[in-house]
């Protein structure tokens, strides 16, 4: 327990730093008010807009912890939106649309997993295939158009609705986090994933079914990507196969790395990845809102800062850096 708190220290500190910066540069960040029965605040907006990335980061944590990676999640999001919008357009019920979309995404996750575990294709290449083809499939379903969802459809509640004073996406992300944490903690799945990512050979010796565990991680990833895609589609009330989830896989990977899970696999932290995702989203919002002497900060700075964040996180995690620093600090004495 103590160990997990220390591991979360870095991302938490970074988040705190960011919030402190906001307190100074743009106090409006922390304003909140109650409007139309829901809590409205830039803070809530961060969670709202960041919900898809949070969901992706949760799934990506499991995949990376199991020793793999998944580049196709953005495309899978697009597929989810396409399937749902298409079915809704053809007078399908909301329940059927959602179920079908999630089923397709689950299948996509299984596809990735099977390609990796059975055919032995390296994860980057295997998921690259779906990353490319997935958007094509999504466009196939939408027939190349952007399908809009009727404004009165109950489906939109997923992206725009409110419950318990919070926006629906935030609630969904919350529920997903709780469900996944429970699944990981109250079954042996979390332990098994850490094992195969940490030391695959020892896991085999201990009798673990490495293939099924890895497959499960990719399947869960697919499901969560589907959820994220549904939220995104409901939010803009349209299925945009080209842009839905574009580049989000990179943000998800970034969130996982910031959260303390190593790209090589093993020990993971769902909470850390969540903090990482919130950090990334806060970054965008902060830059959007920040003002220095009346002039606003260019939005593109977001990218440059992200670059710095990636680099700093990598260096912090690099044992090589620690070794060199030790060498340098030891020399005067030795």
């Amino acid at each position: 327990m103590r160990d997990s708190i220390t591991r979360l220290l870095w991302p938490l500190m970074a988040l705190a730093l960011l919030l402190a910066f906001n307190a100074v540069a743009s106090p409006a960040f922390f304003h909140w008010r109650l409007a139309e029965g829901r809590l409205a605040s830039p803070l809530i907006d961060v969670l709202n807009q960041g919900a898809p990335v949070m969901l992706l980061a949760l799934g990506m944590t499991l995949v990376i912890a199991a020793g793999g990676i998944d580049l196709s999640v953005g495309a899978v999001m697009a597929m989810a939106g396409a399937v749902a919008a298409h079915l809704l357009q053809h007078d399908g019920s909301v329940a059927v649309a959602i179920a079908a979309a999630l089923a397709v995404c689950l299948a996509a996750g299984l596809w990735n997993g099977l390609l990796i575990t059975l055919a032995g294709v390296p994860p980057i290449v295997a998921t690259l295939i779906l990353m490319v083809a997935g958007r094509g499939i999504a466009q196939l379903i939408t027939d190349g158009q952007i399908i809009t969802v009727e404004p009165e459809s109950a489906f939109l509640a997923i992206g725009r609705g409110t419950a318990l004073g919070l926006p629906a996406p935030v609630l969904i992300a919350l529920v997903a986090t709780l469900a996944l944490s429970a699944a990981v903690r109250f079954t042996s799945l979390g332990l098994f994933i850490e094992c195969i990512g940490g030391n695959e050979e020892a896991s085999r010796y201990a009798g673990l079914d490495v293939r099924s565990i890895r497959l499960a991680a990719y399947a869960i990833m697919g499901l969560l990507a589907g959820l994220a895609g549904l939220i995104d589609t409901a939010d803009i009330a349209a299925a945009d196969a080209n842009n839905s989830g574009l580049y989000l896989e990179l943000d998800a990977i970034l969130a996982v790395v910031i959260g303390g899970t190593a790209l090589t696999g093993g020990r993971f932290s769902l909470l850390g990845s969540l903090i990482g995702a919130i950090l990334i989203q806060s970054l965008s919002t902060t830059i959007l809102m920040a003002e220095f002497g009346g002039r606003s900060v260019p939005v593109e700075l977001n990218l440059v800062i992200k670059a710095a964040v990636v680099l700093i996180v990598c260096l912090l995690q690099s044992s090589e850096l620690r070794r060199r620093l030790l060498l340098v600090t030891r020399r005067p004495g030795a």
């Binding site: 042996s188 332990l191 094992c195 940490g198 020892a202 085999r204 010796y205 201990a206 009798g207 673990l208």
Partner: protein, 509 residues
């Protein structure tokens, strides 16, 4: 005065927790094949790493042809003329044979472009000169390991090597390939090269080397002219047991009247795996301890890996608890009631970053499936029980297992399997690198389990241990079973005799 080719004097190397080399002298002459042998922890690899520049020694001198040298990196050693051919070959698999021989020294035109024709020609020359004929344009990957090794030798020779170190080159070779390699070695020796030949295969020492040096416990335990030393003397030097070992360590310590034999719980008939172990028969009954004795690399671990399903057998039949096993796997083995504590704790045993409790419960949780997790409270109870019964020294259960001492780590792995209540327990070097107290505990534990009816296979590099603990001992040498001893016939002397026996005598059943 004619200097020896390599003269190492008083080499000392200390690591934080162990003295790997304690004043070792080693001499290699020109035109000599010099075998270097020793058991685990003897210091062979350390000595060679120092010679080839992978490590720096703390004290002592190295002289090459009379001149003092201090190779600081592998590249520096190579430049001095000391070349190494590793067990894993360490060449570039996707490049061609010709390239591998000349990589980094390719013939180039005046403008710096590589001349492929000239490169292929030169490679052909080198190989023909050594008596080999290989298609130099094919990729290294498409050559067998044996050929790859010879290409590594060719590279070394072409680099004007004067000293050639061969690190266990024959581990993956069959008889024909080994003969080819030896022919090459003799050819090079006759040309004046000095060859250091590291091996675990006793017979090969006698077949090809001119001189043999034995290391034990970081010291030189003997250096002999190969023709002048008997196998028994060599084995006793390696194991540190005097040749005329009395019955003291033998029959007095064999287990008192063996328990009545129960049913047979494991039977292996003609099981083998290419390049791992030759066909063997093994029969194990409940309530008995079967010891596997032999020098390092003789095939003991390979046998238990085959029985546990980590490696697939290439032939033979296997039946566990009466059930025939077709395609094997650790999961099948565990379901059938078999357990294995592997030789290498770190890479094959423990998941370093997980806690003591998690490592302990792993096999049980794995067998129950991911959905049927035991409640934390129950896990803790079980874990605590074993921590107590095995006296595992750990402040708490949630400590990362990497922080425990070697002995306690071993006990955690033992606990993992004991709580599965297996019918067959295989222990591969369970006492390696652990303190005396822990060793004794494990030995008495084995006796307890045997009395309760468990069948145990026990592997240890320490001969007395095997002799003390086992009711039956299978002796291995050079990847084959060469003998079996039972009850009163078991003694360290008898085991050594069985190992040292020249092959012409034939196998015992």
């Amino acid at each position: 005065m004619v200097h020896a080719l390599i003269e190492m004097r008083g080499i000392v190397k200390t690591y934080p927790d162990v003295r790997a080399l304690d004043g070792v002298d080693f001499t290699l002459e020109r035109g000599q094949i010099h075998a270097l042998v020793g058991e685990n922890g003897a210091g062979k690899s350390t000595l060679i790493r120092i010679l080839t520049g992978a490590e720096r020694h703390d004290r002592g001198t190295i002289a090459l042809d009379g001149a003092m040298i201090e190779p600081r990196t592998p590249a520096a050693a190579q430049r001095l003329g000391i070349a190494t051919v590793y067990q894993e070959v360490n060449l570039i698999p996707d490049l061609s044979v010709a390239e591998n021989i000349l990589l980094g020294r390719e013939p180039r035109s005046r403008l710096g472009w590589i001349r492929w024709g000239a490169m292929r020609e030169r490679a052909c020359e080198v190989l023909t000169d050594m008596g080999l004929s290989v298609d130099v344009a094919q990729s290294l990957r498409s050559c067998s390991i044996a050929v790859q090794q010879m290409i590594a030798v060719a590279r070394a020779v072409d680099q004007q090597a004067r000293v050639l170190v061969l690190d266990e080159p024959t581990s993956s070779l069959d008889a024909g390939e080994t003969a080819q390699l030896f022919a090459l070695m003799r050819r090079l020796r006759d040309r004046g090269l000095g060859i250091i030949f590291i091996t675990h295969f006793l017979e090969q020492v006698y077949e090809v080397s001119d001189r043999v040096t034995v290391l034990r416990g970081g010291r030189c335990a003997g250096s002999y002219s190969t023709g002048d030393v008997s196998r028994l003397a060599l084995v006793s030097a390696m194991l540190g047991k005097p040749v005329n070992e009395a019955a003291r360590a033998g029959s007095a310590e064999t287990p008192p009247s063996p328990a009545p034999l129960h049913r047979e719980c494991l039977r292996a008939g003609g099981v083998f795996r290419r390049h791992a172990v030759q066909p063997f028969n093994l029969s194990l009954c409940a309530g008995e301890v079967l010891g596997l004795a032999g020098l390092l690399g003789s095939g003991r671990s390979e046998i238990v890996r085959l029985l546990f399903g980590i490696d697939q057998r290439d032939g033979g039949d296997l039946a566990i608890n009466g059930r025939a096993i077709g395609r094997h796997s650790p999961r099948r083995a565990i379901r059938a009631g078999v357990a294995l504590t592997p030789e290498d704790r770190r890479s094959a045993g423990l998941i370093a970053h997980l806690s003591v409790r998690e490592n302990m419960m792993l096999a049980l949780l794995g067998a129950r499936g991911w959905a049927c997790r035991l409640p934390l409270r129950e896990q803790r109870m079980i874990a605590e029980r074993f921590v107590r019964s095995l006296s595992i020294a750990t402040p708490d259960l949630e400590r990362p297992v990497a922080q425990l001492s070697g002995g306690n780590q071993q006990k955690v792995i033992l606990a993992r399997w004991l709580l599965m209540e297996p019918t067959i327990l295989m222990l591969d070097e369970p006492t390696r690198g652990i303190d005396i107290g822990a060793k004794e505990q494990i030995e008495s534990l084995i006796a307890e389990l045997r009395a309760k009816g468990m069948a145990i296979i026990f592997i240890s590099g320490e001969l007395e241990e095997v002799v003390r603990v086992s009711r039956r001992v299978m002796v291995l040498r050079d990847r084959a079973v060469v003998g079996e001893l039972t009850a009163a016939a078991i003694s360290t002397a008898a085991v050594m005799q069985a190992i040292a026996q020249p092959p012409a005598e034939g196998d015992h059943a």
